[in-house]
Symmetry: D2
Subunit: 335 residues, 4 copies
């Protein structure tokens, strides 16, 4: 099912084209919105009901972030755009064939009809084709045709959403679902030394190493969220954001550093609602070899996978949202 139309294993088509948006649940929606607007430079496209919709200045669509008030932090749903209307139809067929139930949602903001369904690990995903392009006011337009809006003079402004991280009680089952039903490819993964258990998987639908990161849920629970990642492209901006956020009272969990896995230059903060936010200073490496085989890291190699430089704290593996008896991460600098 991974390559429905090609005769060769390399002749694969990614029907899912991009990570389009994430709905974050927040017990402090005003704090969460302020974090993303005043400090990460995002703009509110719309507020409606219990939710606000935000976009970064290099994003063309209505939003990449939906913040919804809720008793606990976590992820509401994760939205993906397909590469064509036909690709959407093919993936719904694949879901049907895999026995996955879903439902059409017609009244969401920012895009057309979306097909909503649950992962084996219970988080909700949606697929859609039609999108609303955001109409940037003329006085905010850039001289750059490839940038919908001028770089804002506010915070350390992120440019676009990069990837999402979730946890799963059974990473292998989730991985198989993403590969077989949704057509993702695994780019790197971590297993126990004997290879029996997959601890994490980094999967993509493009040259990027991952639009999706999955790690084993520390309490074997389902439905939980690990992090949302926005992209800078400039490594220095990770340090700038860390300094700015910390001075203004936010927790920098770890970084800046450079992950070995995917080679991403990172910093992790905790937003006021309690969710983890990664900021990406470089794209890491891009996969151009069409015959790329998934890279398998063994647990004994995890030190290199975690970081070329900088640290990844224990809380990174222990805290996810909603937390279940887990304390909020403290800053690496306080350890």
């Amino acid at each position: 099912m991974a390559s429905p139309r090609g005769s060769s294993p390399y002749d694969h088509t990614f029907d899912v084209a991009q990570l389009a948006h994430i709905e974050l649940m927040s017990p402090d929606p005003e704090g969460t919105e302020r974090f993303f607007t005043e400090f990460l430079g995002m703009s509110v496209s719309e507020r409606r009901g219990q939710s606000s919709y935000l976009r970064a200045y290099e994003e063309w669509y209505h939003h990449s972030l939906k913040i919804t008030e809720a008793p606990e932090p976590g992820v509401g749903h994760i939205g993906w755009r397909t590469r064509s209307p036909e690709a959407l139809a093919r993936r719904i067929d694949a879901l049907d064939q895999a026995g996955v139930a879903g439902a059409w949602l017609d009244d969401e903001r920012g895009h057309g009809a979306a097909y909503r369904f649950a992962l084996p690990s219970a988080q909700e995903l949606e697929l859609f084709w039609d999108v609303d392009y955001f109409d940037v006011p003329t006085d905010q337009k850039s001289g750059l045709l490839n940038r919908p809006q001028r770089r804002p003079a506010r915070g350390i402004p992120v440019r676009r959403i990069d990837h999402v991280g979730i946890t799963a009680p059974d990473v292998s089952a989730n991985r198989a679902f993403f590969e077989d039903v949704l057509g993702f490819r695994t780019r790197e993964f971590i297993t126990t030394d004997d290879g029996a258990v997959t601890i994490g998987a980094w999967m993509s639908i493009s040259q990027m190493v991952h639009e999706l990161a999955m790690v084993a849920d520390p309490q074997q629970l389902s439905g939980r969220f690990h992090h949302i990642c926005y992209w800078y492209g400039i490594p220095q901006h990770c340090a700038d954001a860390a300094e700015l956020l910390r001075e203004h009272g936010y927790t920098i969990e770890c970084g800046p550093g450079k992950h070995g896995l995917a080679q991403g230059i990172y910093v992790y903060a905790i937003e006021p609602g309690g969710n983890r936010v990664e900021l990406y200073g470089d794209t890491g490496y891009l996969i151009q070899d069409p015959a790329w085989e998934p890279l398998q890291w063994r647990e004994s190699q995890i030190d290199w996978a975690k970081a070329v430089y900088g640290t990844v704290t224990d809380s990174f593996f222990e805290y996810c949202t909603p937390p279940v008896g887990t304390a909020l991460p403290v800053a690496a600098t306080s350890l």
Copy 2:
């Protein structure tokens, strides 16, 4: 022909997967090799006949650069890997249907049989599927599974090839060829203000804005080369390379700066053989919208297209290789 298998204009397949290598002609092959090895940190995989084959430390294949001794600088050929054996076959069919003659070459170094043919603008291209992965000596291997070789302690080492730039007497004809016959997509282009003449086109086969840049040949000649680009991913490395190269007697034509077009952070040097080399400090933006329409810059907007900051000198538009009565560029700092 652009979308041979899909019913939707969005359901496009890129049969050409990646820019694999470039053959540079050099009247000073030792100087050219020294430039790429001592100062850009590349390694020689093999020397054979009049040619040497080089790769960067994050490249897995045998080479991305072939340097061949010749009376004049310029490009020998440009090698592209397809996404599968089937994709290769499909593209040869498309070439046949377009009436483009080609020939199989079976004895090249570093890859399997390649189909060689000429562009409307006369540069030679080749397509192939099979590649030789370079066998990095154990003592040079990295702790990073996604990096074939340790970062060398030599020069300001580039990580991988990024894109190629050529000139054409008729950019529109070349663009149509790449779109219709080879399945590339145009991401950005520049025209006269009335839209009648295309001055340049930036085309890609992936999320990247371009693996191929084409600009109007300043003397309406065919077969000429504009630049080869290697990638750092770290903007500071453009400045480091500029400082290092200049101190060691090389010409920095222009930059560091940031192009508006593609948003690439750049610096341009002239290697001892006379060819222009671009170094890329950032990936620029990535295209994730499957419905992306080519962005049309008008000549009156060219100032933004050229640079957000930094300069692009006149020689950039006047010098290409082999030069025909054109002087070597001088450094922007000397203007």
Copy 3:
């Protein structure tokens, strides 16, 4: 007089301790203030009469910039703090002995009594000892004891004033005045190839290569201003500022680049009042050798003095304020 108390030429004391503030004249004081606050992250300490007083977030005093409404751009005066009350007295003695008339001003904002006098090139300077430390509101204080105020989430915030640039009809006369009467030292200078005429001099009162830059006035006029420089310490911030300012309609005259002279990493913008503003991304090199001899650049070496990389445009040598029949600089990217 250069070494009034020491028996050795090396046993020199700098009585002037630091560049404390600059008064910029502006025909558009609101635009000028907005430039420094919204885009360079400075704060207004006080507005009074036709002037506003601003400071950067790592500055402890009341202000480093006074903006005063005036028909034309230019410099009002340049304020220097001495190293002690005794040092102030010594320098006033030296001025008296040199026949330079001055006057005490007792009612300026932000510091105690200041002794005001004119340079040979007619710009007004003042020397003082007492300063007012700015009382940062508690909720804006940093966790860093060495930083009076948290890094603002606004613009690309500068950290402190770095140096000032003026023009002079006779650079040598000015240089002698600064050396002999005020105790500055020349660190680097540029002369004609025969050494007969000094075109520019970079002078300091510390390890820094310059707190004062002087270049020959392009029209042999007196009293004119070349630039004010604020400091980042992070090279990337020059690029960030250039991109931000340009997108918001400001002129980037040249840079980012790296001057050879002083090795400063720079970008130059024109503020709305018409004055040139330099932003410094690195400190350049520091002078630690107590026997440092002034470095003499000949005009034929000026290409290296101007830039290691990046460009310095002709307008840099032609435009100063108030302008006299000289057009505003245009961006280097538009050349």
Copy 4:
């Protein structure tokens, strides 16, 4: 004695002008030399007896680092240049008056007669005036008059020595010695919350926050060495050096990060001989206020003092050389 000639407490003269060189003891002198030459880009000026002498490419003197073979790592001596011959005489007088015995050494390499004496904490210091400037071969000279040698195409080359760190059983006693006898000034210091015990002191003889760092010896021992620091000026180079060194088998103890104290951007590595080496990516802030009072950090504020971002590991406070029953630091990434 701190201000021997001035009537005001501000009218202070620094008789010691600069940290000139450090002698590192190494049980693996070849490994130590290779670390500093192949990876930090330094050059060997001379080898003689059991020692080699190295300099960085922006250093004018014969050496800033002397590596001497020894059974254990540690510091041989620390050399300081005075500001004049008179200043040297004044400091020897001060040492005499303080009852500190010393001896003249006339046959050292790279400088004239030096006066050698021991600190209260037993490390050996020397003071001298005359220095030998290194004669850089013509073909290695830079086009920059302010740079004695071209930037080497080797490793991530450091530019100059920055500061030295030692431990002391009684930091207060050492601090008093440096202030009263040698004329240093304390810029920042850390005490217990009640202020009774000084845990560390950062002292300088210039605008820099420190040429000398002192921390409490973890085992109350004397004569031990904490770290030598070389300077880049470019924050990215800390990350580059960390990546390069780690890939080639060296231990990165902690960083890259930004200390709160002094605001230095840092990374710490352990060289093959076992000594700690800091690399400085920024100068931190400069002290320009002549009335600067030492900043007192309380132990409860140490988290901010340690790092704005990044981590400082426990080993940083526990390991110094020669080690006494202390294991070599492991990389922060392995914790």
